[in-house]
Symmetry: C2
């Protein structure tokens, strides 16, 4: 595998130095992760979007309901199965039966292939796995044909007392692959505590906030940067948060305008110190939500001050028609990686605390400073299979795909650890819940403003 | 991976039925293994030799110091690293440094490649790994060039008070890849209990007995056979044991002659009931020892009664010149698998409780009823990589390499579980140690005779 081609990365200098430092510290890094996982519990699964600017390599989005398992290389599956076995042993060792609850609007064939792949991984890990949908359209067991001769049987999720399942199948575990943007469906509320719900309800987007995740990531990145002795900014996008915006009302985003201004000034200063010639930008996104909706690239605060009606409407709602009232403003990390001449960003997949693979999200028609999670993107599992744990310490810096992917796996796991902290602190059952992460600001970012 | 070719297997009928039964029971089997691993601790690593007769599929040897990691496919490494991470987390989560103690006579380049591969797996899992030899020939750090541009640095193992290590390197873990045939080397005796020795000293061949392992395997196979509702004989070779033989003295093996006679009679009866036309045979081997030395195929008790001097001498000593005084007589399982026209037997590799790969041991000049672990053998990792955990339940019975390898992984794990029981019961620190496994006879085999 060491002769894998390395995707093209322009302006790679500082990241290559960073890669060298990571490779020199593999035992310290892995030891540190082992310690962290003794204290914190990783989510059942997770995917992390990374951006590699050459001068900076950082996570920009952490998904607790990953929907792209179908994009993992076939070679990665054995590792995924092994990791799923660990996750099951840790979470629910007595489990025999599991129901996956997919996204409600699940006619997208790629998404259904993801569900089928997940079913295969978990079945191979030794569970009986069925698919229970909360969609009103699924009123009886429905078999859907998928490319490659596969098929997927989706059944209606049914409630029986305080337990849920599908017909004649009472699972020990209910695995959500539905990000709960619209809140916890009635059928899943207040279920028998003996029926394990994974991830926990507060991982859903009706509760979760990106700004809380990145506040946790600030802590993780700071500690990790101390360990490997780098500037934490190298791996951490600055961010700020606005708790009350109203995109429908012309004066409703004053907070946003001033936060964008301050954040751009901070980035500009950082670029000046490091003598970077790039033009700084920020990404404005809904603080809750997914699917790349409600995302905007901003180079100048004036752009936000003068949003036209179309832009306002685009930002005002995300998935399931939810109104956006909170936004996160995140330092833009340009992506200088290209795959097949398209701008590419790596997506790292994890089950339990293990990197099980990843792929490149590639968008041939988007710029280096744009969100790639948009129609027209495609996925390239190529050369990014189950190899994130095989650093090649003998290879020349920057020349080895194994090494670049190992580093991506490390950054992915840092975001995973942040998600663990976030879930711990957001746990309604935990005493520390209400305010632990709330109010924290980005790494040197302006304090949170309402 | 599902289009892997399946190695040729003559007379496969009953095993295909067995494969179907295993595949139908994947959730029960994996659930059962999870329960077992909650109660029993797997050895750090293990390899198991299997023989597939078509009518019977059984482990015939379980090695707690596996020496063929170099034969695993490169593709299998990521899973091996992940499994090693689990093993380290469970055994010694605080470990940073590890020393591998290789075989003393380690000029065999393939064996050294095994050590280098093990070093790579454990380094990738996040440990600093060095090689500390107990050989008198290694008096200073020695770098040995290996094929493919690799090299291996072997250093003398040094003792410092009650701790061992290599120069300026005090490891948390000492991993034995030396089967201790000659007993525990002085330098490793009575070391600081804070320094973890893996596997434990009583896993060495100066303590371990094959007959104790297979007595434990009897129990495991019986329970598993109940679970999947098959005759335990399908997966379990009958055996007997002689505790005091003297190959140098013509009358010294009367016990052996009578045990061979009884065991052959038992096999003949089993073959008669199942209407098998094969000629029964047994394998006589040293009860302690490895490397395929002191192994003999016997079709008739007269062969043992009338050993000539050359045969006596061959059986009388094994590795490190040790005298053989105890033997195990094991039902011979013919191998009807062939790879590249050579008789082949699968070898399954495990780290912690995970199958991490395997290969075929192929001997083009040996018969279906002979030990293949002999000069002239070669290894074919081909088509047997990290896929023992991906059963393809949709494939036609007998047509899928994934399914055959999944079954091999199950049988390998049964032997692994037997090794866990064996080490538990043999633990000098445990109260149950002295007699728990001793004295047990094979599944229906004649009682042990002195």
């Amino acid at each position: 595998m060491s002769n894998l081609s390395v995707p093209n990365l322009a302006a790679a200098g500082p990241v290559i130095e960073f890669e060298r430092r990571i490779l020199d510290s593999v035992p310290e890094i892995e030891h540190w992760f082992r310690q962290q996982w003794q204290e914190h519990t990783p989510p059942f699964y997770c995917s992390v979007d990374l951006r590699n600017a050459g001068f900076k390599l950082a996570p920009v989005d952490t998904n607790l309901f990953p929907g792209g398992f179908n994009n993992l290389a076939e070679d990665a599956l054995a590792c995924a199965v092994q990791a799923a076995q660990v996750a099951v042993e840790r979470t629910c060792p007595d489990a025999r039966k599991l129901v996956i609850v997919p996204e409600r609007h699940s006619r997208n064939v790629y998404y259904l292939m993801n569900v089928a792949r997940l079913q295969r991984i978990l079945s191979s890990a030794g569970l009986e796995v069925r698919i229970g949908s909360v969609s009103e359209e699924i009123t009886a067991a429905t078999t859907i044909s998928l490319p490659g001769g596969q098929s997927l049987c989706v059944e209606p999720l049914v409630r029986n007392g305080r337990r849920v399942g599908v017909a004649d199948f009472d699972p020990c575990v209910v695995l959500l692959n539905n990000d709960l943007s619209a809140g916890m469906p009635q059928i899943l509320r207040d279920i028998d505590p003996a029926q394990t719900l994974l991830p926990p309800p507060h991982a859903g987007w009706s509760v979760r906030r990106k700004s809380q995740h990145f506040a946790c990531y600030d802590e993780v990145a700071a500690e990790f940067a101390r360990l490997v002795q780098v500037d934490p900014w190298l791996i951490n996008p600055l961010f700020a948060h606005c708790g009350e915006v109203d995109f429908r009302n012309p004066g409703g985003n004053d907070c946003l305008v001033s936060q964008v201004e301050q954040l751009l000034a901070q980035i500009r200063e950082k670029y000046r110190i490091l003598d970077l010639q790039q033009k700084p930008f920020v990404i404005v996104k809904a603080d809750a939500g997914t699917y790349g909706m409600g995302v905007m690239t901003v180079h100048d605060a004036a752009e936000v001050a003068n949003l036209n009606r179309k832009q306002r409407n685009k930002m005002a709602v995300v998935k399931e028609g939810l109104e956006v009232t909170e936004v996160i403003i995140q330092e833009g990390v340009p992506s200088y990686e290209t795959v097949e001449h398209g701008v590419a960003e790596p997506v790292v997949y994890m089950i339990d605390r293990y990197v099980v693979g990843g792929f490149y999200r590639v968008h041939p028609n988007r710029g280096v400073d744009e969100n790639l999670n948009a129609p027209g993107m495609h996925f390239v599992p190529l050369a990014f299979h189950c190899s994130c744990n095989l650093p090649d310490r003998g290879a020349a810096p920057g020349s080895s795909a194994l090494n670049r992917f190992y580093v991506y796996g490390v950054i992915g796991r840092l975001a995973l650890l942040a998600a663990a902290l976030e879930l711990e602190r957001g746990d309604p059952a935990s005493a520390a819940a209400p305010s632990a992460a709330a109010g924290a600001a980005g790494a040197g970012a302006p304090a949170q403003a309402g």
